[in-house]
């Protein structure tokens, strides 16, 4: 009863414009003090513990790496390289954007980071080639979400830290689903481009241009290989990899491509700290909600209710997906994870679902949540970059939802896609 008030209360606080961290933390702390019979120092210790985590330490460095790659104009480089060949097909520039999104996904941890990097490099180009502005903005917004599924991923780091799963395994689990999503998107774009006659195409692939650009791009192309390779081999922990990725990105931008000055580097580091602090604050607020749910017994009640309802795990996953899609309309990715992970993971595990598979399902939902109105970060970012109203971007995203829901269904009901690479 008490805890049933928590979620609506959080939504009310969000609606009046509270900071997400405050909405979560304040509601949880109030519940604890009023109903839980919990001493107040527990709040301090729980909040403190939530940010005192080795896994979370990967976040600042991955954020920095993503920001540097964004500032360093690496996206333009990739677009030109990939475009020299891919633009020979109908809708080629759109496909180029998707392929570049995959590359960015493999060096950046967040969906917004990917979208912002690629958006500023491509939206005007897409418009020049007569793609509808709405389609262009939506394409980048959707492609950007791959950053959450393809490692490194802040989403998986958060889940790992909150639920206590090995982040390296989560990263591995995201690779195939991410590639599958990308392929489905490319098929979808091919169909849309053909049907609506979108964009221009060049007569034949420009192999010479490709060959001349390739050497310049190799250091950047090496980055995802090194990042994913070192996690996969178990040579470095994800936290160590994050430091390596930031160092490598700094090397690329400062020395190899000379696209970032020392001053800009300092500015980027500062922004990265503030972004990390924002994320940690939400994690802190969410940890209090997770704690209050466990303390008041909501988590346990949920598990026993599922048992009592004799729900099988297929129905459970359907219900979870519907719930996450609904909540995802109103919550951004980080809040969605911190709010639901502590509650849903014990239930999923109790039904015999592999927690790593479940984490991938959750991330697939988070990807969609960044695209659904009224609150979808990628919609906001692309609205800014493409100078379109948010609802126009959202309309552009509509045709892509069918693709994302197909991918979500495949990820949900074919666990092998997530688990094949996990040793």
């Amino acid at each position: 009863m008490n805890a049933a008030l928590a979620l609506p209360a959080v939504l009310v606080f969000l609606a009046i414009g509270c900071h997400v961290a405050v909405a979560l933390g304040l509601v949880a702390a109030t519940l604890l003090v009023l109903f839980g019979g919990v001493p107040i120092t527990v709040i301090a210790q729980t909040a403190f513990k939530s940010v005192n985590s080795y896994s979370l330490m990967a976040i600042p460095m991955f954020v920095l790496a993503g920001n540097l790659m964004m500032r360093g104009r690496i996206a333009e480089l990739m677009i030109e390289l990939v475009g020299s060949i891919v633009r020979a097909v109908r809708g080629g520039l759109a496909q180029t954007v998707l392929i570049t999104s995959v590359f960015f996904a493999a060096v950046s941890g967040s969906s917004v980071g990917s979208a912002a990097a690629i958006g500023s490099a491509t939206v005007d180009g897409l418009k020049r080639e007569d793609y509808p502005a709405r389609f262009a903005a939506a394409l980048v917004a959707v492609g950007g979400t791959l950053g959450l599924m393809i490692p490194p991923s802040l989403g998986f780091i958060l889940i790992g830290a909150i639920v206590g799963l090995p982040v390296d395994k989560l990263f591995m689990a995201g690779i195939l689903p991410g590639i599958m999503e990308a392929i489905l998107l490319m098929v979808g774009v091919a169909i849309m481009a053909r049907r609506n006659n979108y964009g221009h195409k060049i007569d034949r692939p420009d192999f010479r241009g490709f060959a001349s650009r390739l050497p310049m791009a190799v250091p950047a192309l090496l980055m995802p290989v090194l990042v994913i390779g070192s996690i996969y081999s178990g040579f470095l922990t994800p936290t160590e990899v994050s430091a390596f990725a930031a160092g490598y990105a700094a090397l690329l931008c400062l020395i190899v491509y000379r696209t970032v000055t020392l001053g800009a580097m300092w500015q980027t580091a500062r922004d990265s700290i503030l972004q990390t602090t924002m994320i940690f604050a939400v994690v802190m607020g969410g940890s209090l909600v997770g704690f209050v749910m466990a303390r008041i017994g909501v988590s346990a009640a949920l598990v026993s209710a599922l048992h009592a309802a004799e729900m099988n795990h297929y129905t459970f996953l359907l219900v979870v997906n519907l719930l996450l899609l609904f909540l995802g309309m109103f919550l951004d990715g980080i809040a969605l994870i911190v709010l639901t992970a502590p509650l849903l993971f014990p239930a999923a595990v109790a039904l015999g679902i592999d927690p790593i598979h479940f984490a991938v399902i959750m991330v697939a939902n988070v990807e969609i949540a960044t695209l659904t109105p009224p609150i979808g970060l990628n919609l906001f970012v692309m609205s800014g970059i493409a100078r379109l109203p948010v609802h126009e971007v959202a309309r552009g995203v509509m045709p892509f939802f069918a693709i994302r829901l197909t991918a979500l269904a495949l990820i949900t009901y074919v666990p092998a896609i997530s688990l094949a690479l996990v040793k």
Binding site: V38, V42, Q45, K49, P166, G234, K423
Partner: protein, 309 residues
Amino acid sequence: AETLVLPNEVAATHWKTDYQKQFGDLVKQKTGGKIDVQVFPAGQLYNEQDALAALGTGSVQMVWPVSVRIESIAPQTGVLNLPFAVSDKMMTNACFSSGLTEIISSYVEPRGLKVLALLRTADLFFIFSGKDVKKMEDLKGTKVRVTGGRIFLDTMRRLGVSPVSMAASEMSSALSQGAIDGVFTSPAGWAEMIGISGKYAWYVPGFQLATYAVVVDGAWYDKLAPDLREAVSSSIHEIAQREWVEAKAADDKLIEKMKAQGAQFHVADEAELARWRDLAKRAVEPFDKAHPDLVAKIKKLEASCGVGG
């Protein structure tokens, strides 16, 4: 009624939670319900480190952490975690175990805490996946996942072992991937978390016999009416005496189970044991030098209870 909040961080089904519930029942029975023991398993309220820190704020009255944890409050209590510090034989001797508990307690009392008893956690040993270790030299150059204090780490380095710190959840996969060669763990950790992929066990009895310290909020305990205090104290002693024997038997059973699955279990013989004790003696020298009074007290206790090694 007084409330005694007793949080732990093991599963609700773990034997430690069982003993805590038994302790609660015993206290309830002896006090006629005047003290209500509330067990919060699985970190529901606090993990044990935080619970320890909350003793004295009024939110927690008792915690049973592994003894290493109280080293962060009083370094002298690290004596419990020295190699060969205690053995099953010493701790089942009532004279020695109560004397040792008093000595340990005296170091945390100035910090507002009390240690009422020491329970048996497990006698730890080495597990390897691909290396059949039968003597000290075989450990040289191996990478082993450990948890432990400074002196333990120092002992590992003297053995030529590279100690690796890693979450328990990761050690099984790290072992099978070859990121580490072995793990230093308990029979339960072997049977439940690693399984037969850790085929070779190397056991030096008493080398690292881990204990739980039953720690209570000192001010709260002192303020209890004498009869209630006596009820808490006698309950925990009853539990401790029984637990020490039962936990040993349970561990032996797990080892037998692993052997039945084809595990190689080697135990150090007398000669090898003597070499390990010798090595340990050198490793603990800095500790002995830093705390001569403590060492003297324990020596004296060993002699007077007749358990000296």
